[in-house]
């Protein structure tokens, strides 16, 4: 275990020495301690979890965070190694259906009492809540939410297209793209070329065409829905989007093209809410772009949920158990969720947090309102491209088909739909 002597601890130590008689009285209670692993080490994510750790320490806890930078899967490799060695962290980052899968390989903590005490269940989207209580009991807690299908519009590209109306349906979207093209926007769609990028275009298309079909096909993997006409329509829409993208992106990250997007060389971007943070970090102003919910053919917002969460692993040590209780209380606390989301640009999991105040952006307010409306109309669904709808293996099999389709223009939508159904069958 690394020995870290911070000034805070030295201070705490000297205070403890001075207050020895008082300490003797309080010996019955243990000092909460928490071992955490996550992938969040740098940028706004790193800043947010560091701030959370500070809050934990303010409440008298000992915060021991070991970040594993890189993809989520690399964090999972460390988690797997620790679990197999019989030494899981008290708490780790994990999300979506992976929570259910991993909870089968090591015992987790039952959080039902804590969740009930905080009244948390009432303020969490139902589909999201289900993911965090796989066996009927809460074992993990969601922390923050992103939507993966927000529509970002470049102000300059809108000017070029002489358009001022935000597209609501896919037909509006396609019209606007044509107008942009005619108005001299070289590539109406800004995009990266990574696998999740391609997956996101497809899920945004399908959920926007029919949230019902999305739920049946992507979340429940119903065979009939997978062979349904909506899937073909979604692939056809993805082809249109692909034709409007810059083919040169190769395997680049979406952030590579943000400058061209703001300059109006590229017009629209379908991306997760985190793009707002990336745009702001790159020094662009809120006046340069508009954030709206992704296109939806029934005109009511469709929200593709992506939520980060913490799962709690059973430990025998009293101090770790106390630390888990404290951490769970903090994660559900509206003030903590506010602090966290304001740093990362996400929105809080709690639907009762007021976003009208200082520190929230227009984009976050739009996103939160979209989530509320989508839950009301039962159009809040789980993101496939970001591993919320299915386990990693199934997601990867589906994205294989989608990414090949995006990059190979000779594949017909019907063929892609057949391949998708086939890929799902062979990975069940």
């Amino acid at each position: 275990m690394p020995i870290t002597t911070t000034r805070r601890r030295l201070l705490a130590g000297s205070v403890a020495t001075l207050a020895l008689p008082a300490f003797a009285r309080a010996q019955g209670a243990v000092k909460p301690r928490l071992t955490v692993i996550s992938q969040w080490s740098a940028g706004s994510d790193g800043a947010a979890i560091t701030a959370l750790g500070k809050k934990f320490e303010e409440k008298g806890g000992v915060w021991q965070h070991s970040p594993v930078p890189g993809f989520t899967t690399e964090m999972m490799n460390k988690l797997r190694a620790q679990i197999m060695a019989g030494d899981p962290p008290a708490c780790s980052q994990l999300k979506g259906p992976e929570i259910a899968a991993w909870s089968k390989i090591a015992p987790t903590v039952d959080l039902d009492a804590l969740v009930a005490a905080a009244g948390y269940e009432k303020v969490v989207a139902p589909d999201l809540a289900k993911l965090h209580k796989p066996g009927g009991k809460w074992i993990a807690l969601p922390l923050q939410i992103y939507s993966t299908n927000m529509l970002f519009l470049s102000k300059r590209a809108m000017d070029k297209a002489k358009a001022d109306k935000i597209p609501v349906t896919w037909a509006d979207f396609n019209d606007l793209a044509e107008k942009m093209k005619a108005g001299g926007v070289a590539f109406p769609i800004a995009n990266g070329g990574t696998r999740p990028d391609d997956g996101q275009k497809f899920e945004a298309a399908l959920a926007g065409i029919s949230p019902l079909a999305y739920r049946a096909a992507m979340m429940n993997l119903e065979k009939k829905a997978l062979e349904g006409p909506e899937i073909k329509a979604a692939f056809a829409q993805v082809r249109k989007i692909a034709d409007w993208m810059d083919p040169n992106v190769g395997a680049q990250h979406f952030s590579t093209n943000l400058k061209r997007f703001i300059d109006g060389d590229m017009g629209m971007m379908i991306m997760g809410g985190w793009a707002q943070g990336v745009l702001r970090n790159a020094g662009f102003k809120f006046e340069d772009f508009i954030i709206a919910p992704g296109p939806s053919d029934n005109s009511k917002p469709v929200f593709l949920l992506n939520a980060d969460a913490f799962i709690f692993w059973q430990r025998k040590e009293a101090d770790l158990q106390a630390g888990q209780t404290l951490m769970a209380q903090l994660v559900m606390d509206p003030a903590i969720q506010t602090m966290y989301s304001q740093i990362t640009g996400s929105i809080p999991v709690r639907t009762d947090v007021d976003l009208s105040g200082e520190g929230w952006s227009e984009g976050q307010r739009t996103t939160a309102k979209a989530l509320k409306d989508a839950i009301a109309s039962n159009q809040a669904v789980l993101s496939m491209a970001h591993n919320m709808a299915q386990e990693n293996g199934m997601t990867a099999a589906m994205i294989d088909v989608i990414t090949e389709y995006v990059k190979n223009k000779t594949i017909k939508p019907e063929q892609a739909a057949a391949r998708l159904a086939e890929a799902v069958e062979s990975s069940r």
Partner: protein, 301 residues
């Protein structure tokens, strides 16, 4: 008094040598063998997230074999392996012959050509991904110079993308082939060359009939080393195309990594790894047999 007879028996005196050689050798061999056996065992189990016991026979193998990713990876391996080995050996040979002309600055040039080998494959892949990107690299440069109809977009063309990996791999490792060939050229008997010169052989004839035939053992070494590199290529592709566009440049090592660590399908990943091992053995076993036969022949001669 003592000088006459050795202070220690022979085996004690040589003990440090044995320890230095055999302990690390046995340890690494044990690691290699035990982990290979472990992987083979896992490939027959239904393991997904963590290793579990159980027996599924060849199901993991048939699942991997039937997957589109693996089929594409095998096709690519065939194309990449052959073209990379042939072209890098040819480039290395030409460079070695040119360097062998007793030119000035040979040392500098040799270092220049060998230097790419010192660069990590991740760096090579990343830099080439910029150079070959039509919007950033060579194509844009030529367009900016005025030749706007010039087209060089292999990186984003799914039929040609595999060739970008061949190009980058040749850039990286033809210097290595050059170094081996150069050593071979230098070891050709000077007397034979002189005799050929006296007999009036021109330079082309001399290379074709005398020098190149004496290089063939080195050629086989180069081919085998490059082939095993080609089969296990991972970091170069990951940095250059990451298997894309789409899944057009998948290679077996990428599929193994993807199955094990991205998709959490340990059993299938292990099966793919075992298949890779078999491909490697298909190259290495004939090579070992050839070396064995040659050694026997030379000791009998």
């Amino acid at each position: 008094m003592k000088a006459g007879r050795p202070a220690f028996p022979e085996w004690v005196r040589r003990l440090p040598e044995y320890l230095m050689i055999w302990v690390p050798l046995l340890l690494s061999a044990a690691h290699l063998v035990s982990f290979s056996l472990w992987t083979i065992w896992i490939s027959f189990t239904p393991s997904t997230l963590v290793p579990v016991t159980g027996w599924v026979g060849l199901r993991n193998y048939s699942a991997v074999g039937a997957s589109r990713n693996w089929q594409i990876a095998l096709d690519n391996l065939l194309l990449f392996g052959i073209s990379f080995v042939v072209l890098s050996a040819a480039t290395g040979l030409v460079l070695a012959i040119l360097l062998d002309q007793r030119i000035r600055g040979e040392n500098v040039l040799r270092s220049v050509f060998l230097y790419p080998l010192a660069v990590s494959f991740v760096v090579t892949g990343t830099v080439w991904s910029w150079l070959l990107n039509p919007g950033l690299g060579i194509q844009k440069l030529v367009h900016d110079l005025g030749w706007t109809s010039f087209k060089f977009d292999w990186l984003i063309d799914r039929d040609m993308a595999i060739w970008t990996i061949v190009v980058a791999a040749i850039w990286q490792s033809s210097g290595f082939a050059m170094a081996l060939f150069l050593a071979g050229l230098r070891s050709v008997d000077a007397d034979i060359i002189k005799a050929a010169q006296i007999d009036g052989a021109g330079p082309i004839r001399m290379y074709r009939r005398i020098i190149l035939p004496s290089l063939w053992p080195i050629t086989i070494t180069v081919v085998v080393i490059q082939l095993q590199f080609a089969i296990s290529t991972f970091d170069l592709v990951r940095a250059l195309t990451n298997g894309g566009p789409g899944i057009a440049t998948q290679l077996p090592a990428l599929v193994v990594y993807d199955l094990m660590f991205q998709r959490s399908l340990l059993g299938r990943g292990a099966a793919a790894a075992v298949l890779m091992l078999l491909i490697l053995l298909a190259v290495l076993l004939p090579y070992a047999a050839w070396r064995y036969v040659r050694r026997r022949r030379s000791s009998h001669a």
